[in-house]
Symmetry: C2
Subunit: 350 residues, 2 copies
């Protein structure tokens, strides 16, 4: 651990794919979705223990979630909690925090992470992150963590690595050939058959100069908006200025705004049991399952039931007979029963 290591946790998502478990008032990152006793946000921070000192941990979230973050991460310094007045996707979020970090620590090396993903093997995770951090400290590279594909998944974007072009400094890090959108099943099978395609995890590593310069080059307008505020960061005016500036930003992901345009993009192939837990079925696969493929959280009794995920709130007993391949979730006055194969329709149900 060096005291220039910084962590940016992006916690502004309002995803309601896990409705009714996750609702806009308390989205997935603020939930103990696996029933382990820690929320996804807390688990995200836990993974960086010993890598990033607490005073270098930053959380960017929507203003409406400020109290949830304070409650779940009481050790987070208040001045490291950045509040977005409105959602503008990941590029403005990273631009803002990068300028703030630059002001505080111009030699910062930064890991940017989503706050609602799952990692099964923390030791492998730690190794990959430290590797990428050291590499980013020594170079102007922007490093993505590429997940070894374990199936022809159509729900993720892919990173194509040029495996013939390992970095001269790190044999574990390769040049990126290109980013690929979520593929069709056929295309996903092609990717999966090759060893040069990796899932795009949304985990990025770079030093602060590199990312700030990339914004200056590829998003000059956005960059100016936040650079101009350098003198007000960490002053009482910051909040008002951000409330003024933020809505002017384009709604754009860092992938589109920077990664697909920049030159010095690298990938660190990794295999630490990652999942974005983006669907009920992926949650089912990530949770401990019984011999019939069922994953249960809460007080649940199953009869003749296969391949289901049943998520019960603490107060309620759930009895299920004769279901195959369903999600059953009940929380806060709502009960959902839906085929896992139709779960993309859940957003239409509420």
């Amino acid at each position: 651990m060096t005291h220039h290591n910084h962590l940016v946790i992006m916690a502004g998502g309002i995803g309601t794919r896990f409705w009714p478990l996750s609702v806009e008032e308390r989205p997935k990152q603020f939930l103990d979705i696996t029933g382990c006793g820690r929320t996804m946000l807390q688990l995200t921070l836990d993974r960086f223990e010993g890598i990033v000192p607490m005073q270098n941990v930053w959380v960017v979230t929507l203003a409406q979630y400020a109290d949830l973050v304070r409650e779940q991460l009481p050790e987070l310094p208040e001045q490291n909690l950045l509040l977005e007045p409105c959602g503008r996707n990941t590029a403005p979020c990273i631009c803002y925090v990068s300028w703030k970090i630059k002001k505080r620590d111009p030699r910062a090396n930064i890991v940017v992470t989503p706050s609602d993903h799952k990692v099964e093997r923390p030791e492998a995770f730690r190794e990959a992150i430290e590797d990428a951090l050291e590499f980013a400290a020594e170079t102007d590279a922007m490093v993505t963590l590429g997940m070894k594909a374990t199936r022809p998944e159509t729900g993720y974007g892919y990173i194509k690595a040029d495996l013939s072009f390992a970095s001269s400094r790190r044999k574990t890090i390769y040049r990126v050939d290109g980013f690929k959108e979520k593929p069709t099943l056929e295309r996903a099978q092609e990717y999966y058959a090759q060893n040069s395609y990796f899932w795009n995890s949304g985990l990025f590593v770079w030093n602060v100069s590199t990312i700030v310069n990339a914004f200056r080059v590829y998003q000059p307008e956005m960059s100016r908006l936040f650079e101009r505020l350098l003198s007000v960061y960490d002053t009482p005016e910051e909040r008002t200025c951000i409330e003024d500036v933020y809505p002017q930003c384009e709604k754009i992901s860092v992938d589109y705004a920077i990664m697909e345009k920049a030159e010095e993009i690298f990938v660190r192939p990794s295999d630490f049991g990652w999942s974005d837990l983006g669907t009920w079925n992926s949650l089912r696969e990530q949770l401990p399952r019984d011999e019939r493929g069922n994953a249960c959280v809460g007080e649940v009794a199953l009869f003749d039931t296969h391949n289901c995920i049943v998520h019960a709130s603490g107060e309620r007993k759930v009895v299920v007979q004769g279901l195959d391949g369903y999600v059953v979730c009940e929380k806060d006055g709502v009960l959902l029963i839906c085929k896992l194969s139709e779960e993309q329709r859940i957003k239409l149900f509420h």
Copy 2:
């Protein structure tokens, strides 16, 4: 209406086939199971308005349900509420109330009814009841109401009528040839193909002398237990004496104890849309259904769902996608999902 007409409502059942909607603390007769705003017990009493004066209405129930009865039937005279210290099936219940009625009104004509059945056509019901009451007043007959079978149902017992032997007094009332247990499907189809088999509704009509004499003849021990208490009925000692006597009674139904043994048994064929609502599927069939065969009570949204019954408590919103032929019921901290074809197993689930 004559002032000798009496009504006995048997409300001591603890059936939990509708678990978790119905639980032992509040079984089906005390629930508004169809969502109409009246409980099954209240609906049972409603059907006799204008036939039986309120002072002649008797309710026999388990002591633990006394307050539920008082709450739901506030107009019931307190001295007409008979409390069983323990469940002993229907014969002791009818024996007890018959002796009580005999003491109060030796010319009583009595209808005995379950408290948790459904009647769709109250006018046809009323006609059948009045017919049977007049017949019972004039004869020593014990009359059962036989329901015209509308399908080869295996869940009911059957009454075989001798249609060549109509009563000389009433052309609508026939001698009973025999009682049949719940049949196999094959047997039920045979019954259904003939017009002399009727569903046994558990509705009985007789005059008080007839039933008391039948108990004397066919259940002399049981009869003695309650006859001996004639002097204590409607005195402060009644409760203690009944608590002493009741547990000594055999657990036996009036069908076994009396009907299958007695000679003068008649059946009044009737067709008033009767159902014992004994299963979730029968409840589904009795409730208003959408064009896909779904019956819903509460705030329910259905997608691609057929032939289900979804019963939601008032506070909870239920969303169901992709089910066919299931019961979904949530109440008081329990959620049940079960195939209707497997609903006989529900009693094993709680």
